[in-house]
Amino acid sequence: MTDIAQIEQRILADVAAASDEAALEAARVAALGKNGAITALLKTLGTLPPEERKSRGSLINGLKERVNAALAARREALKGAALKARLDTESLDVTLPVRETPAEVGRVHPITQVTDELTAIFADMGFAVAEGPDIETDDYNFTKLNFPQDHPARDMQDTFFFNPKPDGSRLLLRTHTSPVQVRTMLAQKPPIRVIIPGRTYRSDSDQTHTPMFHQVEGLVIDRSSHLGHLKWILEEFCKAFFEVDRVKMRFRPSFFPFTEPSLEVDIQCRREKDEIRFGEGDDWLEILGCGMVHPNVLRNCGLDPDDFQGFAWGMGIDRIAMLKYGMADLRAFFEADVRWLTHYGFRPLDFPTLAGGLSS
């Protein structure tokens, strides 16, 4: 009996001493290989009498199982040690900076963002988006909009002109988006509900004026829309755009050649050091002009003013962007300073929706 115990002791010592996969394999072969110690013991079984064979057989098999278990355990330990040794050599300096996500670096211009906000708000109220060319005729920019030839009101517009044609007519850069009202009325039958964002031009340059700027215009033509609807739409717009629960607005009579009655609209606000808060305070800030479309304009666009009626409004996209997002200087909009664009611009995935919030 002692021979089995001795063999077991020796084999388990060899297994325990195996320091790598090869040594362990050698120990396994020495125990269980063709010429291994346990294999040798098994070979002796056949020479034993049956009753002894049974008891000795079970002893040798017990030995074999324990050795196999020891081999497996040792193999696991060696593998773990080897992995640890490998991992110990594989460390990275994870504090090194990675490249920023391109979509986090890129920006859309505030004018783009605000135009998308306007589109979301007015699309929800049933408005489509109309556009027209920057190079316009005098007829569409002025005459059809009821600017009398050489009326002092044309003094209010400092217009960029192109050189006259042989017939004396000359094209111009549109001074407002209103010629698109004319184009829309000439092209489609009422009901008309459009907003018209676009570039506009006036020969003007200082901190609050640039020779190029952006306007958005709204136009509704049907058989029933009146000043009360206009007030409602503009109030709804201001609440949605400035993202406030209530907003107090003041409609002041004014004058534009293409509307009658004409109104200018102020919004109540509180001016603080670096920002303007809407829906509170006791200051007024002018944000847009509007009115009922002038009967002459309807007539000029082929609509009978006794049959059709409607209203229009217009405001500066750059200006309402400044009011909402706090830019101080209009000129910076067009200077393409990447510091300004990165600061005031918007991430491409921050797409304004009514469902998700315009600016959140």
């Binding site: 391109p102 190079i135 192109f162 020969s203 340059s205 004058f255 009967p295």
Partner: protein
């Protein structure tokens, strides 16, 4: 338009406060721009007496004064004014008050060791004049302790309104008062003007001489006043004029200026002694000039209307008078003119000569024709009151009568256009107070428009009058029904493409710029623009003169400005209009981007990971393809041709097209000469595509995507390396490999391009990975070998490429 509160009250009987009146002015369309309330500003300044003035112990020029301010306790003030002396009366202000002339708040001071608890002020410090030689001296009867502004009559608030061009009637205080009275701000004072009986015929005649051409002068009234005693006008008149920023000249001139502002009725006075013969109103003749009252000489032309005598032109009608016949203190006989002029002609003349006079301001808006003669009578009365003299009869040429304007007005228009239900009596009340006359009841009434309201021409104008005076706040906000129209996309195809292009480019780390639509001519020319029909006639600056043919020059300039500020690695894009011609269809929408220096799509600037290096043409190509993919261009139809317009590097640029007839755009490095001409430094790559050029996708009946086919068979990938001539295009090798079996080969990628050791000079190696997707059954090795051989043969046949050994 400026006036004072006291002046307004000459025409409006009211006990409303300044704030109420100002607020109402704004709400009826006469927007208050500014109120200068000097009573408030000057409230701390009181009349005081200097009781004692001793030399300052430590300063020769200063005095230590004790000042009685009326509350019994003398105040010690250190004063440096040479006229400060005991017994005088002046104006005192205590510490804590704001000194408008110096824009500082006064504090208790110690001047050379002596405490000073206030200040005796000069006119300069009160912003009354430029006089800061000495402190204000007041007469002995000035009451100590009384507010100075109140005592001196400086407490009349000045109101400035921003008058819209449609309201000539409110270029005078009288008209403003009428509007306020209509809006329930008081009682309008509208006493009639009595005609002054002429004592003799006017010795100077007036002829309107326009030949067969239309008259530029509907009416001209003239009167002589003989034996006037001209001189400074009285204090009250001078104070009125000064308050609104006019300089008093002499009584005769001041009367005309006063009536201009009081009634919106400009007048002119000639010194009759300097007028030779009769007056003729006519067009100016070429070469005529006028030395005007503003001290400048104007060259006139036949578009302008003048008043001439036997000496020539004496006055530029309705715009400015001539210096020669102007009235001075020595004037004894004065001719007063009250005329009507053609508004458009006045505006043109004023604009052409750059004259912004009070007369032009009113005549170009349209002066009340019916007030031509009353205005002259009012002026006569004032001249007689102030200067004495004997008036002639009025000499009148032309006809100042205004044609009657009657509008057929259905009162229901108010509800229809304004959404406001107003009972007829209320409507009538408003219109009557504004000077309109309403006749009739029921569904249609007749509204007669007063002569001073040329802006009221139709029913909408009457609606405005009523709404304006009743207040727009009475119009109830009414919910707007979006209607039964189905909810469809509201963007047109090009709007949608613009929007997607912007977000796609920003998602590639590019920053959106908005640059001017106009650029310098030479820059436009570099990019195929600069056509004469796209050049502005009146550019605001020489470098903003021509409509841009491309977005690239603006972006390059913007990138260079950033580089000059220390930001060399910039990637900018813009999506916006470019101009190929003046017609609407020649305005196209371009999407363009530039990348400069290390602004790579993978990251901007240097990075430890070393995956950097300067931008190259492939970055621009990737940007271009990203935009095209985002806006729905058919990827499989796009071709890349190895050429581009002259502003690109000839060897490092390409064209993206769908067949040679439809060029979508270009990409690549900019030509070094282009960069030099743009005064910009590279490395710089750019792309530009035209969004209109992308074919519209086919409209589909269903939104469902085509069924997905997933093969159960595993794809096989085989690599090949071909040696080809250097000028062979990679795309041709890919296309050749694809063509070996269009059914089985699902993809061909280029994974290596190599030139150098091991490859013969003038040749290159291109390695491709071919993905083979078995269709019906797993392919055997022999079948795959057969296909591989076909690929090699096909590439060899089409490109001359041989398998690399």
């Amino acid at each position: 338009m400026k006036f004072t509160l006291a002046w307004l009250k000459e025409h409006l009987d009211t006990d409303r406060t300044l704030a109420e009146i100002a607020d109402k002015l704004t709400m009826i369309g006469l927007e208050v721009e500014r109120i200068e309330d000097r009573a408030k500003l000057l409230a701390p300044f009181v009349i005081a007496r200097v009781t004692e003035a001793k030399p300052h112990p430590n300063a020769d020029r200063l005095r230590v004064c004790l000042v009685d301010t009326g509350d019994g306790k003398p105040v010690q003030v250190v004063c440096g004014a040479p006229n400060a002396r005991a017994g005088m009366k002046g104006v005192f202000v205590p510490p804590g008050a704001f000194i408008p002339g110096k824009a500082v708040t006064l504090a208790v001071g110690t001047i050379r060791g002596v405490e000073s608890r206030g200040m005796l002020v000069s006119e300069f410090e009160l912003q009354l004049s430029d006089d800061h030689e000495g402190i204000i001296e007041l007469p002995d009867d000035a009451p100590v302790g009384t507010g100075y502004a109140q005592w001196a009559g400086l407490d009349d608030p000045v109101i400035e309104i921003n008058l819209t061009p449609n309201r000539p009637d409110c270029t005078g205080v009288h008209g403003i008062a009428r509007d306020l009275a209509a809006a329930d701000m008081g009682q309008f004072k509208d006493a009639g003007i009595k005609a002054v009986k002429g004592e003799f015929p006017c010795p100077v005649n007036v002829a309107l001489d326009f030949g067969a051409a239309p008259s530029l002068c509907p009416a001209f009234a003239l009167r002589l006043i003989r034996g006037v005693n001209n001189g400074p006008s009285p204090d009250w008149l001078q104070r009125r004029l000064v308050a609104i920023g006019l300089r008093p000249i002499n009584a005769l001139v001041d009367v005309t200026n006063f009536i201009t502002y009081d009634r919106g009725r400009p007048l002119h006075v000639f010194d009759a002694a300097k007028v030779r013969g009769n007056l003729v109103v006519r067009r100016a003749r070429p070469g005529e000039t006028l030395a005007a009252l503003d001290g400048r000489t104007y060259a006139l032309d036949e578009t302008m209307c003048v008043i001439a005598d036997d000496n020539g032109v004496e006055s530029l009608s309705g715009v400015i008078g001539g210096e020669k016949t102007g009235c001075s203190a020595a004037t004894t006989d004065v001719l007063i003119e009250s005329a009507l002029w053609n508004a458009v002609n006045i505006a043109q003349t004023g604009r052409k000569l750059g004259i912004n006079s009070d007369a032009r301001y009113r005549f170009e808006r349209g002066v009340d024709p019916a007030f031509t003669l009353p205005g002259l009578e009012l002026a006569t009365r004032m001249v007689l009151d102030l200067c004495g003299g004997a008036p002639s009869q009025v000499c009148l040429a032309g006809n100042p009568e205004a044609p009657e304007r009657i509008i057929d007005f259905p009162p229901s228009e108010l509800k229809r256009l304004a959404g406001l239900a107003v009972p007829l009596p209320e409507m009538r009340g408003v219109l009557n107070r504004l000077g309109f006359f309403v006749a009739g009841q029921g569904e249609r009434v007749k509204v007669a428009v007063p002569s001073w309201r040329p802006d009221v021409q139709g029913t909408a104008d009457i609606v405005e009058e009523v709404v304006r005076i009743l207040g727009v706040e009475r119009v109830p906000a009414t919910a707007f029904d979006r209607g039964a129209a189905p909810r469809k996309p509201v963007l047109t195809a090009i709007q949608s493409r613009t929007r997607k292009a912007k977000r796609a480019l920003a998602a590639r780390n590019l920053i959106e710029a908005v640059t001017w639509s106009f650029i310098a001519k030479r820059r436009a020319e570099l990019f195929g623009g600069g056509q004469p029909e796209l050049a502005l006639a009146n550019p605001i600056a020489a470098d903003l003169s021509d409509m841009r043919p491309s977005l690239i020059p603006g972006l390059v300039a913007a990138a260079q400005r950033n580089a000059d500020r220390g930001f060399a690695d910039v990637g900018l894009f813009e999506v916006g209009q470019v101009f190929r011609g003046e017609a609407p269809q020649d305005q196209l929408t371009a999407a363009a981007a530039i990348r400069r220096a290390l602004a790579k799509p993978s990251g901007i600037g240097r990075h430890w990971s070393k995956r950097d290096g300067a931008v190259d043409a492939f970055d621009a190509k990737a940007d271009a393809l990203a935009v095209l993919a985002a806006v729905g261009a058919p990827a499989s139809a796009l071709q890349i041709a190895a050429h581009a317009p002259a502003w690109f590097h000839p060897g490092r640029s390409g064209t993206i097209q769908i067949g040679p007839q439809n060029v979508l755009g270009y990409f690549g490095e900019l030509h070094p000469s282009t960069l030099e001409a743009l005064e910009a430094q590279g490395p710089l790559v750019a792309f530009e595509v035209i969004l209109e050029r992308i074919p519209a996708p086919r409209t589909k009946a269903t939104r469902a995507k085509p069924a997905l086919e997933l093969s159960p068979l595993q794809p096989v990938e085989r690599d090949f390396a071909f040696v080809v001539e250097r000028n062979v295009k990679g795309a041709d090798i890919v296309r050749a490999a694809m063509s070996a079996d269009r059914k089985l080969i699902s993809d061909v990628g280029v994974f290596d391009v190599y030139e150098g050791a091991g490859i013969a000079a003038g040749k290159k190696s291109i390695a491709i990975a071919v993905t083979i997707q078995p269709r019906d059954k797993t392919m055997t090795e022999a079948e795959i070998e057969t296909l591989a051989a076909k690929i090699v043969a096909e590439v060899g046949k089409r490109t001359g490429g041989v398998l690399r050994a």
